[in-house]
Symmetry: none
């Protein structure tokens, strides 16, 4: 991450001083109904005020809510899509281009690849060509790298073998990602190995299984101890009863290196 | 290999004086976990110092380790990919472009084609279009030409019929490769026939079967006697206990035309 | 064939005075091992000296043997490919572009289409797009038009119905070929009908069945009497014991309109 | 001159066996009335039959007379122009492109540069950009390099200082010409120095002053002895009473290395 | 100089270990007759062997002498030109493109700008557009930045005011140069100020005035002490009686930080 364009844009989604990031995905509306996404402008405003580093959005919501976030925090433009009506999440379609990302003022693009899927040949090609364009235009590529696992139909139902996640993450690095988003393996020891095998910064997705907010704090504490730079976590945050408070608690852990006990105080502020 | 751009770049990966080359592939991280690839910067530096001619890398590791090799040895940019999670090595995806290779400062691009596979129609087309671009921009194309063999699922488990390898190699020549990488057939007589049927310089891959370092030296001695220009050999070299020593021993054989006995002295230096 | 670029280039592969052509395909090395193609430079030189009009080659051999033919006879660049390892000759891949043909200095491009195959939709589109480019750049397109026949797996095992060949040839004409190569039907009466139905000059391929050199002369005599302009015949010529003598005998028939008896004298010169 | 496209095309205008060339410019009709250019088709046919290597023409005459020369001899496409109505020959306009040359089937393009003129800055740029395109497409560039001399208005009224011609010629070489056309200096000693300072083959223009056909033969004899590869001479040849005879006499000198006395015999055949 | 393409190429013309460079310009043949440039292939070979880092050439000489330098040392492609026949050195024409530099395999491009000239508006625009292309393709730009001075007609007749040189150098930096070539001011104190004001590495041109080889060594010693990274010096080196010896003496000073007394010993080797 050294040339000027990539550095400027990367610094907008990954704090260059604290080396941490909280990115809030709000790209889920193609995957189902979420009341929080109906008109999320107040939510977005509150998350900006709470100190998030950026949002991961499709162009629709980004245009709709631009007054709330534009120029204040980073904007990561999602360029792959798969709907709940099709209901085959591994069939990610590359629905837009890096040139559109530039026109939209995005600071980065994000693509999901299910490594090991039957369509891998096509998917890797699309991912690589997007990476070419990102290098050409100086815009970072966030690779959401997921192992297809042995359970093809239900990829979100891990835990995954950490070896599979490790390969998937490195595939992203090798084929052009500037930052990685992947699933937390559930234990810091194995995740450390994944972070070490990555040649670029790693963030974690929210993942499917945790229901208790304290467990989220614990998970993020572990993840940061593993060497990751942060989180790219949407539903876990904006379905919580007080999203800005959760963000503040997470920042305590991530930026101030607070303990979970110290951080949870923020939840009641 | 006569026009200026191709000549300059080719001379950076194939020594124009000795007519030999040692290229070190380090593109395996998409195919599994290798501790040597976790942070190979010291390894790369030691191989540069030992006298290798170039590295075959994907863009991720190339960016990560640029301080160690940039401008000192050749950089061959791999443009095809297939992961161990998919585990179908013949499904090589063309993941990037010659224009990206230029932006990255590569001296050559490398593409793998499994000749005879079900996807041959598509794969040959992709290979040929890359060759067009290489001719347009004056950058050499290293064709990794492998016969699909009769055992589709396990193409790395030869030995192959030398007749199949011979055709596969010539397919690379005819459709635009400027240098060939293929498997050694295991005996110098048959490999001589392959080299003779090639219209461009031939190098060998490490291949799967040899475990003893002396056998590697013997193999390379045979290969050079067959008329090949060198080796494109990664794991056999960097999983050895002392990679620079092995490179120096190989250079003894390749450049100084030493015997295996003479060369093995380098292993203990 | 009136615009300047097409006329100039066509005249280099089809003699404008005698209205005949002998084109020597040497594009077979992807289809098997031929000792004559191992290093055909002397062979090529001898064929140039004997008076052939051009060679049909892929880029590999063309680059390898350029000193022997460059600028002395025509160069027809083959842009489709199918290997013997895949062993499905009807799966022709369009492996290169008209722009590459220009860079290589080719006088024409040649594409094979198996008319009626399962991939016809894709193949005709590729053929037509190449024809578009040929019209744009003023470079002739040699269409190798073959009816798929009823025996899909063994297309070279004619005789074909001449009605099928006639349609296949006209498909080439209609979709953009400037010259046709097809199989001889085996009798001059039916072939006359094919030539009459073609709107562009017709040449014949060597075909698989004749083993006697006199039979080759007889076939070519018949073919010329049918109104064809010549032959595009490789293996029959360069596997003969004295290729230049055979070319001279064929020129006797084609240019001097000699009888087979008169022409065969050349074979012993 | 080694890559395939340039080699093929160059060999069509410079005989690769004899290393000589007779190119006949017929591009003068923008500079005045010449009765020989009114309908030069018979003249062109007779020159083709006499053995010239190529014609230097604008596109108008090339289209008009294509039946006479197309595909039989080389076609060098003139891409600069200056009319006699403007009457400032140094104001050469770049009137067409290399892409048009390809469409027209040209084997080379020719551009005139008056080195040292007031417009040098613009002219060198145009020349260099044409050279870029020639390298891109594999088509040779014939540079007509003329020193502007001290007498700006009458540049054809030499003799020139050979030092000036030498620089002008080398400017052509350095900025991308593949072959040079320039004025003969009038003595073989100085011209040898010019040829030696050129990095590409040199031909001479007819020049303005000789009126006797024997003097033409003498001049060409001297020029060939100086190391030049041939002549690019129009009016001197086609205003002579028997142009094909003059071409045959010149070929005697150039190809057979005949003396002027031996060659003049051809004039009366 | 951090992105991969620029780093790789820059390291080929500026040694990344010693942080020094000796670049030999041989682009003068458009400016006059130099016997050393008539056929400089042996000279080039001897300079390669002596350890220079690269040559600054136009495409003509680069093609002519490619066997001597290709792939062994850096190749900086000159993209501006002005001839001695025009004799207005400040009228530099941008004669070629970055895309051509890529086709030719160049490691960098070099453009001369006379800052403050009447054509500054056009020249800066051309320089900037070239810099744009260099950033796009990852190829360094060597800016030869010269103040126009007060004596327009004789710009090589300094000494210049160091303040003018300082501005000119910084203009190069600001408008896109990755390395600077300028004239030495003649004293290390003023040159230090110039180097300090430059944001990229600085090299010096040979300049017109020194005639004694010891004075060259002294000048280079001073220049290195001023913080410059090296020299871009042609005539001073290749018109010396023993060019490789001079290069070795200069390397003593530049790489080994030898004194002039120590270095001059190399002159007699």
């Amino acid at each position: 991450m050294t040339e000027l364009g990539k550095r400027i844009r990367m610094n907008r989604i990954l704090d260059p001083v604290t080396k941490t990031t909280i990115i809030i995905p709000m790209d889920h509306a193609v995957e189902g109904y979420f009341e929080q996404l109906e008109d999320p402008r107040k939510l977005i405003q509150s998350l900006v005020d709470a100190g998030v580093n950026g949002f991961l959005m499709r162009r629709g919501l980004a245009k709709f809510s631009s007054l709330q976030f534009a120029g204040r925090v980073g904007f990561i433009y999602r360029i792959t899509s798969a709907t709940s009506l099709r209901n085959k999440v591994t069939d990610q379609s590359f629905v837009t281009t890096v040139e559109e990302a530039i026109r939209l003022g995005a600071d980065a693009v994000a693509a999901t690849v299910f490594v090991g899927s039957e369509d891998e040949k096509e998917d890797l090609r699309m991912f690589g060509l997007i990476a070419d364009e990102c290098d050409k235009w100086g815009i970072p590529l966030l690779g959401e790298m997921m192992p297809i696992g042995t359970k093809d139909a239900v990829p979100f139902d891990g835990p995954y073998s950490y070896e599979d996640v490790r390969i998937a993450v490195r595939v992203g690095c090798e084929e052009g990602a500037d930052m990685i988003k992947t699933y937390y393996t559930g234990d810091p020891e194995s995740f450390k190995k994944i972070v070490r095998y990555s040649t670029v910064p790693v963030t974690i997705a929210g993942g499917p299984k945790i229901r208790n907010v304290i467990d989220i704090l614990k998970m993020v504490k572990e993840v940061m101890n593993s060497g990751a730079v942060g989180i790219c976590m949407g539903r876990k945050i904006w379905t919580y009863e007080n999203p800005p408070a959760l963000v503040r608690a997470l920042l305590k852990i991530m930026v101030d290196k607070a303990s979970v006990e110290e951080a949870r105080i923020e939840l009641s502020t």
